[in-house]
Structure formats: C-alpha cells, structure tokens
Amino acid sequence: MGNVIDLDAKNYKSLLKNYIETQDEKFLYRAEQISKSFLKNNILPEEIVNLHMQALDELYPSLSGEFQRSMNFLLETMISYGLAHQEFQTLREEQLALKSQIAVAASMQDTLLATSKPNIEGLDIGVISVPANQMNGDYHHFIESNDGSIGIALADVIGKGVPAALCMSMIKYSMDSFPENAMQPKSILENLNRVVERNVDPSMFITMFYAQYQPKDNKLHYASAGHEPGFYYNAKRDKFEEIEAKGLVLGVSLDAKYHQYNLHINKDDMIILLTDGVTECRQGERFIEREEVLNVIRDHAHLSAQEMVDRVYKYFQRLQNFQLRDDFTLIILRKDV
C-alpha cells in the first residue's frame, strides 16, 4: 500500500501542477485514472486529502496558513468516510461468501427436488420453473404410477428464498414416503396437510395443487389446497375456463378435508397449471390480468407445450424488465390424440 501511494504521489503532484497551469482536460482524465487506482488499492479519502496537501505544499510553499489549516479540517471530515468505505468492503466480501453458499444450497436443492417430465403417449407436457432469487420456493413433481397414470404436484410456499426452499424439500420427501395406495389427489393433500401442520412454522403457508391423469379413460382427478386456480382449455369450444377447486391452504387446520374433482379431457384440450408468480407479474405498478396469460398462451398455441411455456416465460420476463418478483412455474398439458 505504501508503495502505491508513493508512486501515485509523484504522479499526482505532476498532474496537479500541469492541470493548474493548463486546465487541459487530459489531466483530469488522468486524475480519474489515478482515482480508480486509489480505490483499487484501498487508499482511503483522508490519505488522498493528505496527498493533496503535501503536493500543494511542495508546489506552492507560499500558500497561506489559513488555506493549509482548511485542508487539515477537510482531512478530519474524511475519516468517517474512510471507515465507512472499509466497512462496505468487508460487508461486500461477506456478501460474496454468502452468495456462493446459497449457490451451493441451490444446486443441492436442484438435485434433491429433481423431477423429469414423463413420456406419455398422446400427452404433450411443457414445464418451466424459474426462481426469482437463487432458491426456488415453487415446487413441481411428476409421479408415474404402475397403473399408467401420472401424478402432477405443484406447490408454492408463500415466501421466497432459503426458508421456502427448505420447506419444499420436506414436502417432496413426505410425498415419497406415502404408500402407492394413498396417491389419490385428495388423500395426498390430506396427508401433506398433517405433515405441514405438525412441522412448519404457522407463519408459513403452502398452497398446492395435485392432479392425477389417467390416460386409459382420459380423466383428470384433482384437488387443491388454496392454490392459484389453473385453466382448462376446451378445444371444441375454443374457450379457457378456470379450474375451480376449493380447499384450505396446507398446515392451517390439522383435520382439513379436501374435495376431489374430475374433468374429462378431449383431443387438443389443455390443462394449464401455474403459481401466482405467473399471474402476479407486474408491469411497473400495474398487475397483469389473468386473461393476459391466456392471451399469450393462445398466441403460441400452434407450438409444442414446452415451446409454449418457454415463450410465456420470456414474454413475462421481458414485461417485468427481466427481474422476476416471485418464483415462476407454469405447466401445460395438452392431449394430442
């Protein structure tokens, strides 16, 4: 540090002299570069004021005592800035360390919660799930059963970041432990509700939608625990309808019961499941209308389900100036045959 400031001190003095004599912009440009070098080498503001005092003293020894004392005064007022600068530096390093820890946690989460899109004849599936921050508080999971049906779980922890993500791992591992015969949407939600009620802080809420699709009879069975309603696209009538399903948010009441609904699906019909990160996209102060999601889906309906969800995501990402406010998960199922 001493060397840098000695080296820059010589430079500083000659630049200062040149500038005072010529007022040429190029010396100010050099001053800007010196200031960057000071910053890079952690030279504090009081040291720069001191450097300035010394340079002036050497260049113009006859400057008044009043002026020199005023520089002393200025130096004194810089001390707190110097301290604040050092503290910011430390905090910045700590923040970087935290960020990299969270990155490790996030990649662990990705491994823990990994799920793969099932390959079902005649069913085109598209999924996208993007966290607003590093860790995702949305969770989706596909389960293929021996009877040929698939289960689709979609959950959203109210809240973001690390606590939400921890909560999601719990949901996933509880679901894994349920016996095959308890894989009905209604019983899954009832079982999970008990797990959440017993294990999660009451200030934390989890909404969940669970659907089971049976390709044999083209039926979708589903139940919802206070989750953002999805949509059903009826191809014959070319209309979107809200998928209505009532049910308490998970963890509120130990013996909550869930109602199971079902829906018959025909060729080209779509099921659209989402989290509120999709519908609560905001453009400035304006919340988007749920309709807007449907319009974007409609605009891309000629594409595959995966391309559709990707396009919808890109659309809303741009609408929000590329800064998601909430975790964003969108699933589209379309019956192809």
Binding site: G2, E46, N50, M53, S80, L83, A84, E87, F88, L91
Partner: protein, 133 residues
C-alpha cells in the same frame, strides 16, 4: 516507556479534551496528520461510549517503545454496566451508526491493536495501540 496521561470522562466536553490530549501525544511521538486524525477519531468513539453508557471513566495515553518500533497506547476504562455480548458489538453494522463504519469495529480499524475486556456490572476496558510507521 513514557508516563501515562489520563483524562476523566464525565461530561460530553471531556470527549474534546481527550481528543486534544491524544492528538498532542501522538504528534509528539511523530505521527503524521492522517494518523493524528485517526487516533483522535478512535479517542472520540471510546470516550463517547464511556459518556453514553457508563456515566464516568477515563481515557489514558502513553508513548510506548519496543526495540524496533514506537507507538501510542490508549486505554479506556470505566466501571459501568459492561458489555455482555462482545462478539455481537464487534460485528460490522451492529453499532447504532448502522453500517457507517463507526463504533468499536471502527476503533479496531483505526488502530493497529485492539483488546476489549468487559465484565457485566463491573465495567469495560478497551486497550488499543497504534504503531508509528
């Protein structure tokens, strides 16, 4: 080793007296303008803590010397309520200045050596040294 010069801290004005004494001794030892200002700021922080939290106490200075270096030692002692969680107050951002660099972590940065001993209900002793470079 020089002799200790102390100043009692009771009123807010005593902080100014402590700064002045610290600066004078630092100057005599040979510290430059920048270090004088840093030492004075450290004195302020410690004296102000005595004034705010302990009602009364004192700040003592001494010129110190080893075989190869000279420096100033500053000790702030009070018999106030003490600090129960020292690690907590030494964290950046804990001081009431909230992330503006001041407080005890600031004193640690301004000086070269820093030690703090505190016992609940018995008082606090902060010992710091700055070496002349």
């Amino acid at each position: 080793m020089g002799t200790q010069s102390c100043i009692n801290i009771q009123k807010e004005w005593d902080i100014v007296g402590a700064r002045q004494l610290g600066r004078d001794i630092a100057k005599k030892i040979g510290f430059g303008t920048v270090d004088q200002a840093r030492i004075a700021t450290a004195v302020s922080e410690l004296a102000r803590n005595i004034y705010l939290y302990a009602d009364s106490g004192k700040v003592c200075f001494e010129a110190i010397e080893t075989i190869d270096k000279k420096g100033i030692s500053m000790i702030a002692i009070d018999s106030g309520p003490g600090i129960s969680d020292i690690s907590l107050v030494m964290q950046d951002g804990y001081s009431t200045s909230r992330g503006l660099g001041a407080g005890l972590p600031g004193v640690k940065r301004l000086m070269d050596e820093f030690d703090l001993i505190s016992e609940k209900e018995q008082g606090t002793e902060v010992k710091t040294i700055k070496w002349l470079r």
